[in-house]
């Protein structure tokens, strides 16, 4: 009898082999250690090697196939943990998606040896069943065996490197990212869209590989949704077979980067997204985040109109009006044409800006309105340009279109009017960008989260607003009657317009301090030198008769000396210090109250203490912030209220575009500053997003007081 039993045992064991070969797959059981001690953990791997183009399946096989299954037969004292699945490959088509391992996979299983395990040879056995498919499918199974010595020392097995390599292909834990999922709309039949978003580093194509379920199926198609930097958003359709719509969907958040694939395991709770703006707030509060398109386009148009009044645009109107006045005496049709060409110039500049935004958005970078000015050299160049324009307006030199001074093609003389009108439009656009005016803020924030055609529409609307006055005037020549007749006043007007230009140049000079710090006063010196050179040019070269040659030489020496001696040597204008992404710069905290640097942790800490929180997103270059918001916060009544409520005041300095603040602004659908948030005392309530301030400080004080009062209701 015992012989029979022994025979049976041998036969039974003989069924298990180290590796098995089926139709298209070779299966092997490998271990990370060949000798282990009691209490050790050993990593076991089921190594499946398929013929080329044959695949086996992930733990969610998708629309067809079945996952590989394992059944362990382990000696006493050894326990097997759950299977760890490396990140699979997603096979198209979208309406029949499967998640597979092509050609090769090692499924990892941790084995735990108990501390009481006895020394000897342990037979680790596993029964594996799988489905291998190329076009047709063939089921496969194997009984695999591996031996593990239990002894006093630990010895790695030759398969350890292979196991380590496949361990690297396991998904990471989701504690490294913050992910949300929300149902976008009610269901249509049995299909409902789910929006998944997560923030993380890296650039690539995001996707979500769901785990399987009997009650529902996440479809294969992934739609990427627009988002700003650091945030990935996608939409998946979920099909329900039975029961309620799932409250929890588990799976892998995947990012396909140029260098490989990164995946995170996650359990998403699919709640509806909590509204960011408090909907029960009074009508004049938060600019709603879901405005209809026509309203946003109207705001964009109005924003463009108002941009005409901004200090960074107003001086250019001087140029426009002057040209207009000059042309008014000639052919009215030509005037109309000039009007349209000016509008065209503005439109083309805005659309090319839109193109840049779209390109940058597509490249996955953070694109914020006004970001051109983070380019130090751009700012320097613009300062110089604006100063030259001011000097021209003062009459120090002339810019005659078509003359040798411009030095472009000969036919510029005939087209001078049109070319001038076009480039006036372009200049107006360039100067308008850092002034994110009221209405524009919300409109642009809306636009940046939108698909390409809407962005183009938004930019076109702003362009239309900016160009509107000129076009209107060029079409209604009758209204020229209201324009004053030419005379000596024109020259006075021209000089007077030079002063807003000079103010703009000074403001730009102030901006360069962001990049060059104290060194930017050298730029001021350069501008003075340049002014002198320009005067010499105008007085002695353009208008002078004798000594022209000498004058030219002096001008060249001046400019060269200025450039090399100052811009290069002192300012080092081509190498600005690295923009620090330091969110702790407190340069612009309003006065009168204790402001601290903003961080998400600071907000959470303050809310946990039960105090209302005020967050002021501001930047050195933001005009509205400095003209309206800061003075309003510094006003007596607001400071008193802040003290009374024991509010925590945090300032988020966006001057150098730190990534964390860009992401935070994007959460509230804004692309730039100003933004003021008031978190109520009640921890459960979401923050109130205050409306855009008008550039008059007095107007913002009642808004702040009202919001602060609501925060503690």
């Amino acid at each position: 009898m015992r012989c029979l039993l022994k025979l049976l045992a041998v036969l039974f064991l003989g069924c298990f082999t180290a590796s098995a070969l089926t139709a298209h797959t070779q299966a092997k059981l490998i271990l990370s250690l060949q000798t282990a001690r009691a209490g050790d953990s050993v990593l076991a791997g089921i190594h499946l090697q398929m013929e080329p183009a044959w695949h086996t399946y992930w733990k969610n096989s998708g629309a067809s196939g079945i996952p590989t299954t394992l059944a362990w037969t382990l000696p006493a004292g050894i326990k097997a943990g759950p299977v760890q699945w490396p990140v699979p490959e997603k096979l198209p088509p979208d309406d029949f998606t499967t998640y597979v391992y092509q050609n090769e996979v090692v499924l990892l299983v941790p084995l735990q040896i108990s501390p009481e395990a006895k020394a000897g040879v342990a037979g680790i056995k596993v029964h594996v069943e799988w489905l291998e498919c190329k076009e047709a499918c063939v089921p496969g199974s194997a009984d695999l065996l591996a031996s593990l010595n239990l002894g006093a020392e630990q010895a790695a097995s030759p398969d350890a490197p292979l196991l380590a390599a496949w361990q690297k292909r396991l998904p990471e834990s989701s504690s490294k990212l913050v992910a949300h999922a929300a149902w976008e709309k009610p269901a249509v039949g049995d299909l409902r869209p789910l929006v998944i978003e997560w923030s993380g580093a890296g650039i690539g194509e995001p996707d979500f590989y769901p785990l399987g379920s009997d009650a529902f199926e996440v479809q294969g198609e992934t739609e990427r949704l627009p988002s700003s930097g650091g945030l990935f958003r996608l939409r998946k359709q979920v099909k329900r077979f039975s029961g309620d719509w799932p409250a929890k969907i588990s799976g892998l958040l995947v990012l396909k980067t140029p260098t490989g694939i990164v995946a995170y395991e996650t359990d998403l709770s699919s709640a509806p997204l909590a509204p960011v703006a408090n909907p029960s707030a009074t009508p004049e509060s938060a600019v709603s985040l879901t405005q209809p398109l026509w309203k946003m386009l109207l705001y964009a148009f109005l924003g463009g109109l108002i941009l005409n009044a901004m200090p960074c645009v107003l001086p250019v109107i001087a140029l426009k009006i002057l040209g207009f006045v000059r042309e008014a005496r000639s052919d009215p049709r030509h005037v109309r044409k000039l009007g349209w060409v000016y509008a065209l110039g503005v439109l083309v500049s805005f659309l090319s800006l839109a193109g840049v935004v779209i390109a940058v958005q597509a490249a996955g970078h953070k694109a914020g309105w006004g970001m051109q000015f983070s380019n130090a050299q751009f700012t320097v160049g613009l300062t110089v340009l604006v100063t030259l324009v001011a000097l021209n307006l003062f009459g120090l030199f002339e810019v005659n279109p078509g003359s040798r001074v411009l030095g472009t093609a000969g036919n510029l003389a005939a087209q001078s009017g049109l070319a001038g009108a076009f480039f006036n439009g372009v200049l107006a656009t360039i100067l308008a960008t850092p002034c994110t005016a009221p209405f524009l803020g919300a409109a642009l924030g809306f636009a940046f989260a939108q698909p390409v055609p809407i962005i183009l529409l938004m930019f076109a609307a702003v362009a239309a607003g900016l160009a509107a006055p000129y076009v209107v005037l060029s079409w209604k020549p009758a209204w020229l009657r209201f324009l004053p007749k030419p005379g000596a006043w024109m020259e006075h007007f021209k000089i007077a317009m030079g002063f807003p230009m000079l103010a703009t140049a000074l403001w730009l000079l102030n901006l360069t301090t962001i990049h060059y710090g104290d060194r930017s006063w050298w730029l001021g010196i350069f501008l003075v030198m340049m002014s002198a050179a320009v005067w010499i040019w105008g007085a002695f070269v353009q208008r002078g008769s004798a000594g022209r040659g000498l004058a030219v030489v002096i001008v060249i020496l001046c400019m060269a000396g200025g450039y090399f001696g100052i811009l290069e040597a002192q300012l080092h204008w081509r190498s600005s210090p690295d923009s620090a992404s330091d969110t702790r710069v407190l340069a612009h905290a309003p006065e009168g109250y204790a402001w601290s640097p903003w961080s998400p942790e600071a907000v959470a800490k303050a809310r946990a203490e039960g105090r209302p929180v005020v967050v002021d997103f501001t930047a050195k270059w933001c005009l509205t912030c400095n003209l309206s918001v800061a003075p309003a916060f510094a006003s007596k009544s607001v400071v008193e209220q802040l003290q009374k409520l024991n509010a925590v005041a945090l300032v988020a300095d966006y001057t150098l575009y730190p990534a964390q603040i860009t992401a935070e602004l994007a959460r509230f659908q804004r692309s730039g500053v100003p933004l003021v948030l008031i978190y109520p005392r009640d921890f459960a309530k979401p923050p109130e997003v205050l409306p855009e301030p008008l550039p008059y400080p007095a107007s913002y004080i009642p808004v702040l007081l009202g919001a602060l009062e609501r925060a503690v209701r």
């Binding site: 067809s64 079945i66 069943e129 249509v188 299909l191 009997d214 698909p451």
Partner: protein, 196 residues
Amino acid sequence: MKQLLTLVATLALVGTAFAAEIGKPAPDFTGTDIRGRTIKLADFKGRIVVLEASNSDCPFCANHLKTGALQELQKEFTAKGVVWLMVNSVNPRNSSHRTPEQARAEWDQEKLNATAWIDDSSGAIGKLYGLKTTPHMIVIAADGTVAYSGALDDRPAPFGDPRTARNYVREAVTQLLAGQRVLVSQTKPYGCAVHY
């Protein structure tokens, strides 16, 4: 524009998924069976119709046939007046394709008890009903509405005895024959992909 395209794509997806929408009338079709007869869904008005997306090369279907479980189910239902149509949508270039002669030979070999085996190598019927896997089962009630769409049973495995599994098609047909509502009307179908 992008939203419009998305809407169209979603509708298309919805369309393909819901050609067999539970509770809605089953779309009519015309097909030819392996014996050259023309089969129309409208011919079977007033009777319960079971559609089976099949491909005997798929290990899941092969197991149902090998164990005889599928043939028993077919016999059980056709005896009660249910129409059982096998729909083979494998395209002619695929190695699993069966010409009518081969299909007839297989019919005899496997002792099939269905009402007819429709040669759907063009894929028209399969796509009309959104048949995704083999086996994928559709049960159409006597009033012409789709009563069940999904898996044959709750045990996706290419081996073992399917008789031990919970058979959704048997449940649906039994409930329909008793004049009751089908309780489980939709499940996720398993199997190999249909080789359109």
